[in-house]
Symmetry: C2
Subunit: 328 residues, 2 copies
Amino acid sequence: MSIRIGILGYGNLGRGVECAIKNNPDMELVAVFTRRNPDSVKILTENVPVYSVDEAPSKKDDIDVLILCGGSATDLPVQTPEYVKCFNVVDSFDTHAKIPEHFANVDKVAKENGNIGIISVGWDPGMFSISRMYGNAILNNGSDYTFWGKGVSQGHSDAIRRIDGVKDAKQYTIPVESALEAVRSGSNPEFTTREKHTRECFVVAEDGADLPRIENEIKTMPNYFDQYDTTVHFISEEELKRDHSGIPHGGFVIRTGKTGWNNENNHVIEYSLKLDSNPEFTASVIVAYARAAYKMSKEGMTGCKTVFDVAPAYLCLQDNAELRAKFL
Amino acid sequence: MSIRIGILGYGNLGRGVECAIKNNPDMELVAVFTRRNPDSVKILTENVPVYSVDEAPSKKDDIDVLILCGGSATDLPVQTPEYVKCFNVVDSFDTHAKIPEHFANVDKVAKENGNIGIISVGWDPGMFSISRMYGNAILNNGSDYTFWGKGVSQGHSDAIRRIDGVKDAKQYTIPVESALEAVRSGSNPEFTTREKHTRECFVVAEDGADLPRIENEIKTMPNYFDQYDTTVHFISEEELKRDHSGIPHGGFVIRTGKTGWNNENNHVIEYSLKLDSNPEFTASVIVAYARAAYKMSKEGMTGCKTVFDVAPAYLCLQDNAELRAKFL
């Protein structure tokens, strides 16, 4: 019997989850819930109903895991504790500073209702977090480095769009190659913000806009750009659509450390991602953790979990004997 | 209170474990067991006793986890089931084909005696296995690639040393850079053995030995060298000692895969290691899993486990709340 999955929220991430389910033969999409008018939402999978979110609780017996695809700013802090009352849930809550509070809220309700909620799943937080943790556990005497990109930062793109005279924009975060090389050499460098990443902006200006003013406003924007070397390109709307409509991302987690009685030996552990589609990859991670939520719930576990609490075998389609034979 | 560790077998790996314990403030080395005459074994840590292996069972109340540092060919198949009778144990059993049998043997005895045995810990099997598994769980529609090196292969070095006229030798396994690049490009290449790795040999010949014959015997040796492009350098004993006395290793695990409704997006997950000392890194992984064995045993778990069965948080010094705040 398949694992029956529900999706709550049908944007880029929800659509990515729908695609990932198609690639996992032990799973089945059984319902999509939306805050919009359900009749206005067309999904890719045939013969799967779209419901209003209000109907979700009434479907609880038909769904093994509900995947919450809302945003971290205002949706998930409310939705995850709310829906874990009725469902095993997985979310991608990514406001790092508020994770302890979110964890506590979800844990309480999940335990009271005998469900599992796996939070902060994706690649950062998510696979990058796991890489940082394994690296630290193995090389206790060492240093951590995380680089992001090359990829589109939605937050920075939005910040540019809010500038007067800007019609549309896309911002790429780019790791500095020489900084990566210095880390890999084991020289244990320390970096300023400027030395680790650069920012490249593609901006569509309104007709007659003051381009030098826009460029200056971008480059001096506090926190978003002022601490970085930023390049601004003004392009046409057609060019933006043609060359910059993808949502690629990626990055690098590197742990360097020393071993030996006198710390005489250096080691470098590197984990990297190169992703054509940030939301589809995030969704693929989430779907693997939905499988884990299902298996762990079947074993009687309850409460809030993060990627740190999930043994790798739970993520997999195969049983444990097959995993040992195939991957170990 | 510290986690009390015992080491059984004091070669390169045992010494690496001893060094790793020094870097982990929650652990303490309490005993080393050897098959040699204990008086002949000098260890690095002060005031820690060296015993004969025969005395191990009598020390079971003093040791939380016993780390087995013997070889996979003949030692561990006997030792791991034997010592898991009295101890929680961790081993680095690396004969991939015999892991299912080893698992079954250890699992039975471990469960009968209420202990935990974590087997096949290190980097391959070990961290590379975990990377393969996470990669497969996330990108179900994709391909796996593992490359080893640049590093010293003990087995290949030994094979060269057995050739008539060879005094000493060191063999490096080297991944082919263009093959790595092809994989990273997402082109999903298929390789012959020859296309993935080359082998480089540094050989000290006996005086008056027939060098062309030795070189030919190496290059045509079945399984070890005949399927590879192999380079042979004859050097002096001094050069071997000066330039090739280290035990570096490393490698790359790459998972490429597609997502999207029509498989239109490519993704590359890459995990790599660059290690100055193969045994010290392996030991560092083992020591982290010794911590996991200790914590899991405290929670009442028993039986044989692999890296697939251990949730990442068990490996760490920090408690779960601190882990979430720091690494997630």
